[in-house]
């Protein structure tokens, strides 16, 4: 009886897997089709005449390695920035006492709730005034900290016994050493998983970099993708799918490498 029930659940769960993966399969499958075939043999998951022409067109029209490097570089700066500022701030909130802490924390966390439409234009003006248009730093600077990071690290620090930190503190060990030698090693799984999520989000970022990066040599992958979407001239769907497939490689690798951390500690770090 229970066995049958359990099998029923497995069927449901497998169906969900199928629905979630189907778009991914369509993406990869279409990237090996010609434009005409993408229209006229839609249900053909394995292309009748598989072609690499979309990939070779991309190779001719854009500098793929450059694009991947630009995206990687930008995402790395953003991720490192968020991790470092987040750890420092969380440490201060957790282990230092100062006046106005509650308010400061409230203000910090409330920035998570700011819709991006509110801050887009003023930020664009600031970045252009300090001459950072067209640079990865210009994209990264406003994002070098993220209150989500502070919140998540703060929660992760609950795992470290307070008495431990206090006892080493009394021993006169400077706090940056405590942070480096005690807190960071203990939080390693959280740091990896939070960092991976930050990296993937930044990798896919679209609206803000469009404003800042104007020069082709500074483009990131999502911006290059934009180059193949046109309402008036028609979108070349298989070509866009080929670029999307290239775009997913790095996030997928990161996911596969750190999968254990990501899946087990997104929330065990994030939430008690």
């Amino acid at each position: 009886m229970n066995k049958i029930k359990e099998n029923g659940w497995h069927i449901l769960l497998l169906l969900i897997c199928l629905v979630l993966l189907l778009p991914v399969i369509f993406m990869i499958s279409n990237s090996f089709k010609t434009l005409r075939e993408s229209y006229h043999s839609m249900l053909q998951i394995i292309p009748l005449h598989p072609t690499l022409s979309n990939y070779s067109t991309l190779g001719r029209q854009v500098n793929l390695l450059r694009l991947i490097w630009n995206t990687f570089f930008m995402a790395t700066i953003v991720t490192l920035g968020k991790l470092v500022t987040g750890l420092l701030a969380a440490y201060a909130f957790k282990y230092f006492s100062f006046t106005g802490k509650r308010w400061l924390y409230f203000i910090f966390v409330s920035t998570i709730f700011v819709p991006f439409t509110v801050i887009m234009i003023p930020n664009y003006l600031v970045i252009s005034k300090i001459n950072l248009l067209n640079t990865a730093l210009g994209v990264a600077l406003p994002q070098l900290c993220d209150a989500t990071g502070i919140m998540l690290f703060l929660k992760a620090m609950d795992k470290i016994p307070k008495s431990l930190i206090e006892s080493v503190h009394i021993d006169g060990i400077p706090s940056y050493k405590i942070l480096k030698d005690i807190v960071v090693p203990i939080l390693r799984p959280s740091i990896i998983s939070i960092g991976a999520i930050f990296f993937i989000n930044s990798w896919n970022e679209y609206v803000w970099p469009t404003l800042i990066l104007k020069d082709k040599s500074s483009f990131t992958l999502p911006l290059a993708l934009e180059n193949y979407i046109s309402s008036e001239g028609g979108t070349n769907f298989p070509l866009a799918m080929a670029l999307s497939t290239i775009m997913i490689i790095v996030p997928l690798l990161i996911y596969l490498i750190f999968q254990r951390y990501i899946l087990n500690s997104i929330s065990s770090s994030g939430l008690k």
Partner: protein, 428 residues
């Protein structure tokens, strides 16, 4: 110790190098002051799927042949609306491009909100013979690029008109002749026949973020969109044309109502027999369809003549410094050379704006290879400027889009058009 001494050496070396470099830079700048390279940026809307590669090619050749000007091209996603957004933010930060494509719908908005150099002024300022504009452009073509006060804002660059594409294989199958599609009444009859025989849709009219194609329909029933600066599309002729369109979509269900990208996909997939959309789609449709596809000129209503508003854009000089303006003007003139325009046309599917390019051998042989462009070319001779309202033009366009959406979901045509017209006129 050893480490530190090599470190010092390196620093000293670097400083020396730096000083030498500064010295040289000083010399060369003093010597070559007259021949400094001028950098200008060109903003366009051409994705890789629509002429982006041609833009790159043109710019590359220009840079090769012009030693002292360097042009950088920047693609702006989301067509003219996207470019205008970027221009807006650029203007607010004081870092505008030097030359930009401005869509016709934005002519008045651009003219009243941005600083620019008119082509007439550029010609007077930089040319010895002042005939470039009059020699290359017809009066009608120039009228496309004028603001509501009648001043030339930029030079017409990309021209397009809506044409009627049809799935010849499908029409042949149901015994419909293409010649019957010269009137909207004929299109409607054909659409009915197709719906009954095959269950597929007969017609799709493009529905992007503007009402260009719908305006063409109204104009071809003798209606006027604007008269003496006031909106007049809710006239009897305007209502009749929209009612006709609504009946096809809502009552007969012979016409498809869906966003643009889907509509074109449906046509290419053989789910819609006839598509009314811009000539710029020609190459995409040709590359994607697996049936015979042909195109004819815009239909008209019985008793009226076909009139289409022109689509596309002009080139406007937004550079502020004289040397940059001069470079931008030089670049513009290069872009209007016959050979450049033909490259441009081939990449984008737009029509060339100058007399010379239109009658050039290269363009003619291109037309013969791509017969779908022919109807668009013949229409351009009678095309009218795209209606652009002098005040709050962008809101006016949005109001017309809203009216279209409401009508196609079944609201009363008369009431919807009337209230849209009143709303626009309140703001004029």
């Amino acid at each position: 110790m050893k480490n530190s001494s090599s470190w010092i050496k390196r620093v000293v070396g670097a400083i020396t190098l730096l000083m030498v470099a500064v010295l040289f830079a000083g010399c060369s700048s003093a010597k070559g002051a007259a021949k400094k390279v001028v950098h200008i940026s060109y903003w366009h809307v051409n994705a890789q799927t629509q002429g982006g590669a041609s833009v790159d090619e043109l710019v590359k050749n220009f840079n090769k042949t012009h030693k002292y000007i360097k042009v950088t091209a920047k693609y702006n996603p989301n067509m003219y609306q996207g470019l205008m957004q970027n221009l807006q933010s650029a203007q607010a930060s004081g870092k505008v491009p030097d030359i930009a494509q401005v869509g016709w719908a934005y002519t008045n908005y651009f003219a009243s909100n941005f600083k620019y150099l008119t082509p007439t002024d550029a010609q007077n300022k930089f040319d010895s013979s002042k005939t470039f504009i009059s020699k290359n452009f017809s009066k009608r073509t120039l009228s496309f690029a004028k603001d509501s006060k009648g001043n030339l804002v930029g030079l017409p660059y990309s021209l397009s008109t809506p044409i009627l594409y049809y799935n010849k294989t499908m029409l042949d199958k149901y015994g419909i002749s293409a010649s019957s599609l010269s009137t909207w009444e004929g299109v409607s009859t054909a659409a009915k026949k197709i719906k009954e025989a095959s269950g597929e849709y007969g017609l799709y009219i493009q529905e992007p973020g503007d009402t260009w194609a719908q305006q063409a329909m109204l104009l071809s029933n003798g209606a006027q969109i604007k008269k003496n600066g006031k909106a007049t599309f809710a006239s009897a002729a305007g209502v009749k044309a929209y009612q006709f369109y609504q009946d096809m979509v809502v009552k007969d269900k012979t016409a498809l109502h869906t966003p643009w990208a889907q509509g074109i996909d449906d046509f290419v997939n053989g789910k819609v027999a006839i598509a009314y959309t811009t000539v710029a789609q020609a190459s995409h449709i040709k590359k994607s369809a697996n049936f015979n596809v042909e195109a004819i000129t815009s239909p008209h209503f019985k008793g009226s003549t076909a009139t289409v508003p022109v689509g596309g854009s002009m080139l406007a000089i937004t550079a502020q410094k004289t040397e940059k303006q001069k470079a931008a003007w030089t670049f513009e003139k290069y872009m209007y050379k016959n050979s450049s325009l033909v490259t441009w046309t081939k990449g984008t599917g737009y029509l060339p704006p100058t007399q010379g390019a239109l009658s050039s051998q290269a363009f003619k042989s291109y037309l013969n290879e791509n017969p779908m462009l022919k109807p668009a070319t013949s229409q351009i001779k009678t095309a009218v400027p795209w209606t652009s309202f002098p005040k709050n033009g962008l809101q006016a366009e949005q109001t017309m889009i809203d009216a279209r959406d409401k009508i196609l979901s079944g609201s009363s045509v008369q009431d919807t058009l009337k209230s849209a017209q009143e709303k626009i006129n309140e703001q004029q």
